[in-house]
């Protein structure tokens, strides 16, 4: 009862095939019809991606031409060194002005690693929660709790280690 993962498998098949009421086997067999059914929903998205790329690109291009030819003040000849400097405080010291391709704090990498772990956790939770409503009573809640307890043990370890502290020296 406690480790009955049949509802989980059913939930996974439900998510991946995006069809209703199919077992895992039949969902994996019917690749053809699913595609033709989903053309209905993904044709709009395909057109939308094209249009949504076209609109910003055309905005940039129109502005490029308008900025060049339609302005009252057409003097764009100022290409001086100062104009192309990085926008900073204006004081020419080595600490401020210059290339930005230097090393940065390792804290950002730690946040990235934490994100990977917890985002995967959340992604694994999706199949649970989609089927949760249709489960009987506490059946799926035990599975959810077992999963979360395992993960939160890791979370507590990170907390105690100080991985979640921004100011801690690493």
């Amino acid at each position: 009862m406690f480790f009955d993962f049949v509802p989980l498998i059913a939930a996974v098949s439900d998510v991946t095939s995006a069809t209703q009421n199919k077992t895992l086997e039949t969902a994996m067999d019917t690749t053809g019809p699913i595609i033709s059914e989903n053309v209905h929903h993904f044709l709009p998205l395909t057109i939308l991606v094209c249009l949504a790329l076209l609109v910003p690109v055309s905005m940039l291009l129109i502005s490029w031409f308008a900025g060049k030819y339609a302005r009252v003040n057409r003097d764009l000849s100022d290409q001086s060194k100062e104009k192309h400097e990085p926008f900073e405080c204006g004081i020419q010291t080595a600490a401020t002005v210059g290339q930005a391709d230097e090393r940065f704090s390792v804290k950002f990498y730690i946040i990235g690693m934490l994100f990977l772990v917890f985002d995967l956790e959340v992604a694994f939770l999706y199949p649970f929660v989609i089927r949760f409503k249709y489960a009987e009573g506490w059946d799926l809640l035990w599975v959810l709790l077992a999963f979360l307890v395992l993960l939160e043990a890791g979370y507590l370890y990170l907390f105690r280690k100080g991985a979640l502290d921004w100011e801690k020296e690493v």
């Binding site: 929903h41 502005s63 999706y126 949760f132 249709y134």
Partner: protein, 371 residues
């Protein structure tokens, strides 16, 4: 456990009134033009889809411009001044005038920056914003696409915005930009976890990832909305949603990415003219989208608060604007958080409490304690 007792998901998507084949005068005319009077063929469907896309995208761009006006007007009121008054009635045309001015600016790129990444970055946020708009149901038959995995689609596409900030900040080759971009990346990926946990709570309660099904599940009076229907858990999740979406939008009090007093504008320090205004426009479209998602998930979407009132897109607008007012109110009330406070708030407070709230909602549903 017997898996056969699992009930099918409520209603098939194809059975619903589909805007791509719905019988509106314009749709009928297009279908007649394409020699497909019944049902429509691929050509007529494509044309109808393009009409809907243009309508909804133009509408949301206009909404973004209105939001800029609203933000300036409210900011004025919060600070006991008037805000824009001169251009048009109540200063309504101020945003259009600003946009026109920015259009006519010189397209400038610093020599030190990388051309490809510098010009790629302003394109992505608008693309991402329009793609998320596709799955939001504005009305019973007002949507562009209706995939079964709508919420997962949203959480996947929403990452595009922060990608653009990272690309743009890296490509401008400016230390302030780089710092702002890194902060934006760290902040967005941190808060995304608890944002998706808020989505998960709704999926848990409704058993759906399809946004239209989620809205249909909240029909009836206002106590059928998930914010009230799940006693306690729904309201907590809504508050967490407001906090995390404010952080995802990089708005005050979570705007360490822009932080004009320390980073001179953060990731868009080197951007000017139309490239800057595209970031700016996308920011406000994103704000509208976040509010519309919040209204869809927690406040019943396009459903009226009482049964005897007619449903429609105006309810979604009213709820979205209420949430947007909250965002603007936050911006002109709270001071900016430091980056360490920001990270502590997410990792030590919001994340564990969201998980506890999820389990709490699970117990509520398992015990059947739903209104």
């Amino acid at each position: 456990m017997d898996t056969s007792t699992h009930q099918p998901v409520q209603q098939s998507v194809a059975e619903r009134l589909d805007p791509h084949t719905a019988t509106t005068p314009l749709g009928d005319w297009v279908r007649e033009l394409c020699d497909a009077p019944d049902g429509g063929n691929l050509l007529s469907m494509t044309i109808n889809v393009i009409i809907i896309i243009i309508a909804i995208c133009a509408f949301s761009s206009l909404t973004a411009m209105v939001l800029v006006w609203m933000e300036r007007k409210l900011a004025g009121r919060f600070q006991r001044r008037l805000g824009p008054t001169r251009t048009g009635p109540f200063g309504l045309l101020q945003t259009a005038a600003d946009g026109l001015k920015l259009f006519l600016k010189e397209g400038f790129r610093p020599n030190a920056s990388d051309p490809f990444t510098y010009y790629l970055a302003p394109l992505l946020p608008l693309t991402g914003a329009f793609m998320v708009l596709a799955v939001i149901p504005f009305g019973p038959s007002m949507w562009i696409a209706d995939p079964e995995l709508g919420l997962i689609f949203i959480s996947a596409i929403a990452g595009l915005g922060v990608l653009a900030l990272l690309i743009g900040s890296w490509g401008s080759n400016n230390k302030y930009s780089l710092m702002g971009g890194l902060r934006a990346g760290a902040q967005a990926i941190s808060y995304e976890v608890s944002l998706i946990l808020c989505f998960l709570l709704i999926v848990l309660a409704s058993g759906e990832t399809n946004l239209l099904n989620i809205v249909e599940g909240q029909q009836g009076n206002f106590w059928n909305w998930w914010i009230i229907k799940l006693p306690g858990a729904g309201f907590i999740a809504f508050i967490f949603f407001i906090i995390t979406s404010t952080a995802e939008l990089n708005r005050t009090p979570f705007d360490t990415t822009e932080a004009e007093s320390e980073l001179t504008g953060g990731f868009h320090t080197e951007y000017s003219g139309i490239a800057f205004s595209m970031f700016f426009l996308a920011e406000y479209v994103h704000m509208f989208i976040a509010a519309a998602i919040g209204a869809t998930l927690f406040l019943g979407g396009y459903n009226a608060p009482f049964e005897f009132l007619p449903d429609g897109w105006w309810w979604l607008m009213a709820k979205s604007y209420a949430i947007i007012f909250l965002y603007i109110w936050f911006r002109w009330t709270f001071p900016r958080l430091r980056i360490d406070q920001l990270m502590a708030l997410e990792w030590k407070f919001l994340l564990p409490l969201s998980l506890i709230n999820l389990v709490f909602a699970g117990i509520l549903i398992a015990m059947g304690w739903i209104l």
